[in-house]
């Protein structure tokens, strides 16, 4: 006598098939994302597993690693190593530096062109933005900007590039077609970072000393159309320094790292109202959203850790110790 009747088997079979399909559909999510963190004083990049939230690998790179970016095809991670005046390129399969490209003096921030194999590099001491071809390993051009270029932002379509200069206190809007700065706008004191929103219509430029974010219209006027100010209750004003910025693609939240005030500001992307301040580690510098934007990762330079923020509930979940002075963070989906 069979253990299961024919009717029962007929009922179970579609259920099993459904389960198998469900498992297949979930398979892409089973692959945990990886978070890369550059440790400025350790000359390493820490790799955190997105599921266990533990450091699973430490990659040795050049001296003073700061900004990072993925190649357009997602196979490599580029790391600006300031004291080596180069961009180290890490193979994301082997997690090893496979090559290095000269970048000009003191590269700090880098961005990758979404359409061409170009890396844009801000060279603080030379007052230029260098454009490197990472396939041909050549210098494409150098774009003169203001004094001490620092932050770089690129529009999602690759048309516009914004370079912020910390002594000129300006945002220089570069037309990526002609590789020339075509607009120059005054922003807050010591601008640090530029970030475009999802459709490229706005750019947020943070200013460290002014503790502000200037929102630029990137469709018509290229002017500053709003200035967001931060004031953390009970925290000395001088410790509030706006640095890293991340914007959710649904147009809901803007996150701004506020340096030694140890807070990340949550801003309504539509009304520019500051909704909340989330406590994280000491001297929070840069931020990264994961692929589905459910989590925000922050680098906390002085406390040497990364705080994981739950975006839905706007709460800090956990802080993960990494190397000394973590600077940049980027998430591989």
């Amino acid at each position: 006598m069979p253990i299961l009747s024919r009717e029962t088997t007929a009922m179970i079979k579609p259920a099993l098939a459904g389960l198998a399909l469900g498992a297949l559909a979930l398979a892409p999510f089973a692959h945990a994302e990886r978070i890369f963190v550059s440790n400025e004083q350790d000359n390493t990049v820490s790799v955190i597993d997105g599921e266990s939230l533990e450091v699973i690998e430490v990659i040795n790179v050049g001296r003073r690693p700061r900004a990072m970016a993925f190649s357009s095809d997602g196979s490599e991670l580029f790391v600006a190593v300031g004291d080596d005046e180069a961009i180290d390129m890490i193979d994301l399969e082997t997690l090893q530096v496979v090559r290095s490209q000269s970048s000009g003096e003191d590269p700090e921030v880098i961005r990758v062109d979404p359409n061409r194999p170009y890396i844009y590099v801000s060279n603080e001491d030379d007052n230029i933005v260098s454009v490197l071809d990472y396939e041909r390993r050549t210098l494409v051009t150098e774009i003169p900007v203001g004094v001490e270029p620092e932050g770089l932002g690129i529009s999602p379509d690759g048309r516009w590039l914004i370079a912020t200069t910390e002594t000129s206190n300006m945002a220089h809007i570069i037309d990526a077609e002609i590789m020339e700065a075509v607009h120059h706008r005054l922003v807050g004191a010591r601008p640090r970072h530029a970030e475009f929103n999802h459709d490229g219509s706005k750019a947020w430029v943070s200013a460290e000393i002014a503790a502000t974010v200037s929102v630029l219209d990137m469709v018509d006027t290229f002017d500053v159309e709003h200035t967001i100010r931060f004031d953390v209750p009970g925290v000395p004003r001088e410790t509030v320094q706006a640095v890293g910025v991340q914007l959710t693609s649904d147009g809901r939240y803007g996150f701004v790292a506020l340096g030694p005030s140890n807070r990340v500001a949550v801003v309504d992307q539509q009304t520019y109202e500051v909704l909340d301040y989330i406590l994280v580690g000491q001297r929070v510098w840069h931020l990264a959203l994961n692929a589905d934007e459910s989590r925000l990762y922050t680098t906390n330079g002085v406390s040497g850790d990364v705080t994981v923020i739950d975006v839905e509930n706007l709460t800090a979940l956990q802080s993960i110790p990494v190397g000394r002075f973590p600077w940049g963070v980027i998430v591989q989906p």
Binding site: T239, N262, L279, G281, D305, T307, A316
Partner: protein, 269 residues
Amino acid sequence: MSVGMGRYLHCMRGVVSRELLRFVHQRSRFVAALVRPLIWLFVFAAGFRMALGVAMTDPYKTYILYEVYIIPGLVGMIQLFNGMQSSLSMVYDREMGSMRVLLVSPFPRWYLLVCKLLAGTLVSIAQVYVFLTIAWFYGIKAPPMGYVWILPALVVTGFMVGALGMLLSTFVKQLENFAGVMNFVIFPMFFLSSALYPLWRIREGSYLVYQIAAMNPFTYAVEMIRFALYEQLNLDAVMIVVATTLVLLALAILGYNPARGMMARKGGG
């Protein structure tokens, strides 16, 4: 046997309901019990916001505001004051003669005292949950299951501070002497513990104070509550608190023994 068990339960119900009734009828006591920790939370802890957060320490997984840190300490404070309040009421009962009514009951004395402790503990737990609810609406939220895990920790702590109060009540002859108990027991126990500052921070300030705090059983009660509120078990703290409770309870029962305890010497009861 079942009849006997029923009688025991009846006795327990009587002692507990008397204590709860007394608590419900004394509205000012209820308000006072809540106002004390709330002032600490809203005034003292809010003033420390500018401390830029408390560094990562177990059981917290990330940085927290000082007002988040202080919550378990204030929960302990509620229970500590309540335990002392119970001891005060025992002194009062003894002066008024109602203690005599209780102690002439046919049930064993230790059982009556345990019932009395249970009653005081239940009162303190009610106060704690009201306090945690206010803190929740103030924005200090623990994981939901933490509010369940904290319950056994509150029972053990309630018994510990209650037994301490009971033991003290055997030494305090008159109601007027209770101020001394406040100065010499409640304040040192609370301030020389991890209720207000983490032990590592106390150690940075004074090694001597750290050593005292590390020997203070109230520190472990607070840590047990802190870990339970964040869904974790601090086994060391649990063992120390349970052991302290048993010792204090035994001494209190001994103290209330008319043949051998302090009561005999004082002629009270």
